[in-house]
């Protein structure tokens, strides 16, 4: 267990994939030692200044609140507070049919709304035993990766802006527009799409989407290379991000920190590979892994993930199968819209689904998917009928915000904003 790579045995699949001239990977012990060295341990007591960072603060990405105890500029203690954006999504879910829950999931992580829709639909399909047709799975994969790209580009801009460069934020927003335009074309909405349906997706790909999508994914890797030129080799960024906020794989497990933060700690854990859903088991892609567990490596992981996302979308567009885009499952899914207007059975199905809802069996399921911010689990307990008896969204930001004390105590206030941005917390996601 001395080696970080070996500690993630089952998932560490591309250990031998990196070239031999790569810098030596730190072991878990080395990382722990480095973490202890970079953190300043200060005694509580003495001249402690308490600051409430948030809920209204430029770099808490919403209404996250951190109560900081500072000795000079060093954080002695940190207490995260969430809940300012609580909307009672789980309670609302208990009073809605499965179809009606999908728009609620948009509002969890509004930066990657489709991934949230998708996660809920995967769980509901597992409960109902719906088999998703191939075309729908491919469309879902495309939309999921587009939302990952949009999320990571936004993340990059915000992260860099937190380190003081406002121009870069605007550049990232400009490039995110291409993705939002694609979403607008695909779903009709730019932010909250409600595009996934139980058993498939809401609509087929529109005409011209494929060409436009190809253009964007040809163009984005060039942009990603440009971001890396600006950021990766920037001396100030390197000094601000290297060895800051070290969070080893053990810490990640203990605090349930998942996603890019975990992968930056040397664990090749990606539910797209480990518990494949949609079309991910038919697509060839790499899991981005870095080994130094700091802010800089989290940036590198996300950059690689964006490249891989472009690769995944390209493969999906190449291998896009024909067929229906939603399951022909009268008991659980909505029919295709074009059938509704000319086929009486489909019309009956439509009425049935809209007015009564999908009839789920009794039982409980838990399904986790890899959303851009980490692992999102959805627990559904059904007592039969169209409405779930209990839904729980295990959202990544909830735990990432909770882990802030472990991530940032001993660092400086300036580092806190970098670390907080690097674990990617969105308050809609964390407050539910």
């Amino acid at each position: 267990m001395s080696d970080v790579i070996d500690s993630g045995t089952a998932q560490a699949r591309d250990v031998d994939a990196t070239p031999s001239d790569a810098p030596p990977r730190p072991t878990l012990e080395q990382l722990k030692e480095r973490k202890a060295r970079t953190r300043q341990r200060l005694e509580t007591g003495g001249d402690i200044m308490t600051i409430s960072m948030g809920p209204q603060h430029p770099s808490t990405h919403g209404v996250f609140q951190m109560v900081l105890d500072l000795d000079g500029e060093v954080i002695v203690d940190l207490r995260p507070e969430i809940g300012n954006l609580h909307r009672g999504v789980e309670k609302l879910c208990e009073h809605r049919t499965y179809h009606q829950i999908i728009p609620l999931t948009d509002r969890l992580d509004y930066n990657s709304a489709f991934a949230m829709n998708h996660g809920f639909c995967e769980a509901a399909e597992k409960l109902m035993g719906v088999e998703v047709p191939a075309r729908a799975r491919y469309i879902r994969t495309i939309a999921h990766e587009l939302s990952r790209l949009a999320n990571h580009i936004l993340w990059l801009g915000v992260h860099i802006m937190d380190l003081g460069t406002q121009t870069f934020f605007v550049i990232c927003f400009r490039d995110r527009e291409y993705l939002l335009d694609l979403f607008e074309m695909l779903t009709g909405a730019r932010l909250t799409h409600s595009f996934a349906r139980i058993g498939g997706v809401a609509k087929d790909l529109p005409d011209g989407f494929e060409q436009r999508c190809r253009k964007v994914i040809e163009f984005l890797p060039k942009r990603i290379a440009e971001y890396e030129r600006i950021v990766k080799h920037n001396r100030i960024y390197y000094k601000r991000a290297k060895d800051v906020g070290i969070f080893t794989s053990e810490d990640c497990y203990a605090w349930r920190v998942t996603g890019p933060t975990l992968r930056a700690a040397g664990v090749a854990r990606d539910l797209r590979k480990d518990e494949p859903y949609a079309a991910y088991d038919e697509i060839d892609f790499e899991v981005a892994v870095e080994y130094n567990a700091d802010v800089y490596d989290r940036f590198l992981v996300r950059m690689t993930e964006m490249r891989e996302s472009c690769k995944i979308i390209r493969q999906c567009l190449d291998g896009l199968p024909d067929g229906p885009y939603v399951a022909r499952d009268a008991a659980h899914s909505l029919p295709m819209k074009r059938d509704v207007l000319r086929d009486s059975a489909a019309m009956i199905q439509d009425f049935y689904q809209v007015f009564r809802g999908p009839q789920a069996p009794k039982g409980e399921v838990y399904r986790a998917v890899e959303v851009p911010k980490g692992e999102m689990g959805v627990y559904i307990r059904s007592e039969g009928g169209a409405k779930p008896a209990r839904v729980r969204f295990t959202t990544p930001s909830f735990y990432h915000g909770q882990a802030m004390p472990a991530l940032a105590v001993g660092e400086m206030v300036s580092d806190l904003v970098a670390i907080f941005a690097s674990v990617d917390v969105v308050l809609g996601d964390s407050d539910k």
Binding site: S7, G8, T9, A10, Q11, I82, G83, H86, G88, E90, K91, L92, H95, K126, E131, P133, A134, R135, S249, Y253, A254, R256, V267, R269, P276, D281, E282, P321, D322, G323, P324, A327, R328, D329, A330, A331, D343, S344, A345, I348, Q349, G363, E364, V365, Y366, A368, E375, G377, Y379, R381, R390, R392, T394, F398, Y399, Q402, A403, A406, D431, K432
Partner: protein, 196 residues
């Protein structure tokens, strides 16, 4: 286009893919590592595991509240189980169970063996459980949320305050008898009108 399609939908035309997906979808048999883990749990705790349920490829053990800490600690530390991550700890309310209407569920994940397990316990009104924040610090927010939403107390929790709702909120919103609409729980602060 007969009514038969309602009952028995035909297989979708586009479902022929590169690989047979039904194996992934409807996996009812457990992963071998999880079977080993379950056997080990059964050997260790025997009749203390009140119920065992296997559905949708997921394994659930129901235990008594008194065994909560011991079973979870074993799940974390035993090498064949190796549940190093608490994926989610959550509450549930089942009013039809008159004596023990509250359930607390822990979803465990193992990074070493890549398997998942659900441990469940049922509690009476006003029941309490020991905290597992000592095993997995990530349980801190989960337990706070479970307490505020269902009223299940976690003994020994370092900071058991309301998490998502306001400090002066009254009631447990995720209980089934809590209404969905209306001014409930909190209060409208008319006395502060004009002052802030």
């Amino acid at each position: 286009m007969s009514a038969a399609r309602f009952v028995q939908p035909p297989r979708p035309a586009g479902s022929s893919t590169k690989r047979d997906r039904t194996a992934v979808r409807a996996a009812t048999s457990l992963a071998p590592t999880l079977a080993t883990a379950a056997a080990k749990l059964r050997r260790r705790f025997g009749a203390r595991l009140l119920e065992e349920e296997e559905s949708f490829g997921e394994l659930t053990f129901v235990i008594a509240p008194g065994d909560w800490m011991r079973v979870l600690a074993f799940c974390k530390s035993a090498p064949d189980l190796g549940f190093d991550q608490l994926d989610c700890l959550m509450g549930d309310h089942l009013p039809e169970r008159a004596d023990t209407p509250f359930a607390v569920l822990a979803h465990l994940t193992s990074h070493t063996h890549a398997h998942r397990l659900r441990v469940k316990t049922f509690l009476p009104e006003g029941g309490s459980l020991p905290t597992v924040t000592g095993l997995w610090p990530s349980a801190g927010f989960d337990e706070r949320e479970t307490w505020e939403m269902f009223g299940v107390v976690f003994q020994g929790h370092p900071d058991l305050r309301r998490l998502l709702t306001a400090e002066d909120f009254e009631g447990f919103p995720l209980r089934k008898d809590f209404p969905l609409e209306g001014i409930v729980g909190g209060r409208v602060r008319t006395e502060l009108r004009g002052k802030i």
